[in-house]
């Protein structure tokens, strides 16, 4: 299948420090693409640049053949790219269900008065949104939690809620920034299953992750970044044995011990 996302020569510098250096990445439709790399290699910056949190210093980002460079975050989201955050950003005053409803806001069609005065179409739309939300909550494994405040969930489930919120926007490309951080090993196994199910729904996933086991298990392809540059790309098995990757990750100590 063709590429859904093309990153062409993207650089990003902060106050002269280069966080991404002339990066080229192509992500195919329907795959789970992992992006790995040591701390500070530019993974989160890449997500921020793709989603428009800050503009790229140079280069272009093409989504489904359309140039989305420099669009504001909500416009990029409306085109079908959404994300989760490494340091969770839930809405403290909304319930679990309301999180998932809010994420459908931009797709709702009933106008202000229709929604405020619950006209027939307004009510129908709200009901439709609620049942869709319930379905998504069940899908990620948060059934029965709908009426809790989002921050009332235990930590692992908050990560799931972020994924549910992202799915509710109806994305074609989902960017997950360290979704396994802070999860127990059972929770990671559940996450692994969830990621596969998301892929089987036709959603392309970009996964930035530290937990190698998870990456190796679910990723179709892996891109490795170091100092903002791509140093390797390939199937998990290829990456596992790539000496340059081992070098970047484990440094000289490992190389010395191995030799």
């Amino acid at each position: 299948m063709g590429p859904i996302l093309e990153i062409k020569g993207v650089s990003k510098s902060f106050e002269g420090v280069l966080a991404l250096n002339n990066l080229d990445v192509e992500v195919s439709e329907g795959e789970i693409r992992a992006i790995i790399g040591p701390n500070g290699s530019g993974k989160t910056t890449l997500i921020n640049v793709i989603t428009g949190v800050f503009p790229a210093t140079s280069g272009r980002i093409i989504f489904k053949g359309q140039d989305i460079t420099g669009l504001s975050p909500f416009r990029i989201a409306r085109k079908g790219i959404t994300r989760t955050f490494q340091n969770l950003r839930l809405f403290p005053s909304l319930t679990v269900l309301e999180h998932v409803l809010a994420a459908q806001h931009h797709r709702s069609r009933v106008g202000f008065w229709g929604s405020v005065f619950s006209t027939r179409s307004g009510r129908a739309e709200e009901e439709g949104m609620v049942s869709r939300a319930q379905e998504i909550l069940e899908f990620v494994g948060l059934k029965g939690r709908a009426d809790m405040p989002g921050l009332g969930l235990p930590y692992g489930q908050r990560r799931l809620l972020e994924i549910a919120r992202a799915l509710a926007t109806g994305p074609e490309l989902l960017l997950l920034d360290e979704p396994a951080a802070g999860l127990s090993s059972e929770e990671i196994q559940a996450l692994e299953r969830l990621l596969r199910e998301i892929r089987s729904r036709g959603i392309t996933v970009i996964l930035v992750e530290h937990r190698m086991m998870l990456v190796m298990n679910v990723a179709d392809r892996i891109t490795v970044l170091n100092y903002g540059e791509k140093i390797a790309e390939g199937k998990p098995a290829e990456i596992k044995n790539n000496p340059e990757v081992i070098q970047a990750y484990l440094g000289r100590a490992y190389a010395a011990a191995g030799s």
Partner: protein, 293 residues
């Protein structure tokens, strides 16, 4: 417009611009250190102007320099007190909460002014009174020149302070990245208190310099808006920008109000402010970075 008038206007605009710069710097340091706009900054200027005019100059008959130092000292203490009362207990609260509490402080102060110093405007004589210097057919208020000189000296001292002293360097580090500074083991709490003290002392100087040139009343608080406009013009959070923006605004204001009615002076400033937010929100010197965070 005759050249002489032009020069006169320029000097008086420059003098007002210096005052705006001082107020703008006050906003900038607090913004950089704690990420809030101190909505009482304009009222700090008024308090300082009253302190100087009514108490130290008119009542106690102190000379200009001791009075200036006294006002700065009082204002610095006052700034620390402000930090204790309206910022410190609200750490971790949303910035809007802290800003609301600074607004409450501003309202409280403008009414305290009236209680302490009466409802009538106070006038005072500065070191030069209404004296005028003449160069050919150009006549310039000596006090205006004085304002410009004092501000320049102060900016120079400030530069030395930030480059050479430890506390200055620490303040700069905290202003650039508070979290990183904390990680490096800098006592941010103390530094924030010093930042409030310094910002208030700047408002103190602005008040003392303003007092002889105007009637001192609570209406002086409107320099708060002018100072903020200066920040936006120069690029918010930008130290050089604040200085530059103030001077630009001072000059623009004098010229625009000499063409249009001076009654709408404040309204003109506001229109300039809106225009900047629309067309160049990052200001003249600022870069458009991280606006969406």
């Amino acid at each position: 417009m005759a050249l002489s008038v032009l020069v006169q206007q320029l000097i008086s605009g420059l003098a007002m611009g210096c005052i705006y710069s001082l107020v703008a710097l006050g906003y900038t340091f607090i913004w950089n250190a704690v990420g809030i706009v101190n909505l009482a900054q304009g009222d700090f200027v008024t308090v300082a102007a009253f302190l100087y005019a009514a108490t130290f100059s008119n009542h106690l008959k102190w000379g200009f320099v001791p009075a200036l130092i006294a006002v700065m000292a009082v204002m610095a203490l006052f700034g620390m007190g402000t930090e204790r009362v309206v910022y410190h207990p609200l750490q971790g609260a949303h910035p809007r909460t802290v800003m609301l509490s600074t607004l409450a402080l501003g309202i409280l102060l403008s009414n305290m002014d009236i209680i302490l110093w009466g409802p009538y405007p106070v006038t005072t004589r500065g070191p030069f009174g209404q004296d005028i210097i003449r160069f050919g057919d150009v006549s310039i208020m000596q006090h205006h020149v004085f304002i410009i000189v004092v501000t320049l000296v102060l900016l120079f001292l400030q530069h030395l302070f930030f480059q050479k002293t430890t506390i200055g360097k620490v303040m700069r580090a905290v202003a650039q990245d508070r979290e990183a500074a904390t990680l490096m083991g800098i006592e941010t709490g103390q530094t924030i208190a010093v930042t409030f003290a310094y910002s208030s002392a700047l408002a103190g100087i602005a008040g003392v310099l303003l007092a002889p040139a105007f009637m001192v009343s609570v209406d002086l608080g409107s320099v708060g808006l002018k100072g903020f406009a200066s920040c936006v013009i120069g690029g918010f959070g930008h130290i050089t920008g604040a200085t530059f923006g103030g001077i630009l605004l001072g000059i623009a204001e004098v010229f625009v109000s000499s063409f249009l009615s001076s009654r709408y002076r404040d309204a003109i400033v506001f229109v300039i402010l809106v225009a900047f937010l629309l067309l160049r929100p990052q200001g003249v010197l600022g870069r458009k970075v991280g606006e969406s965070l």
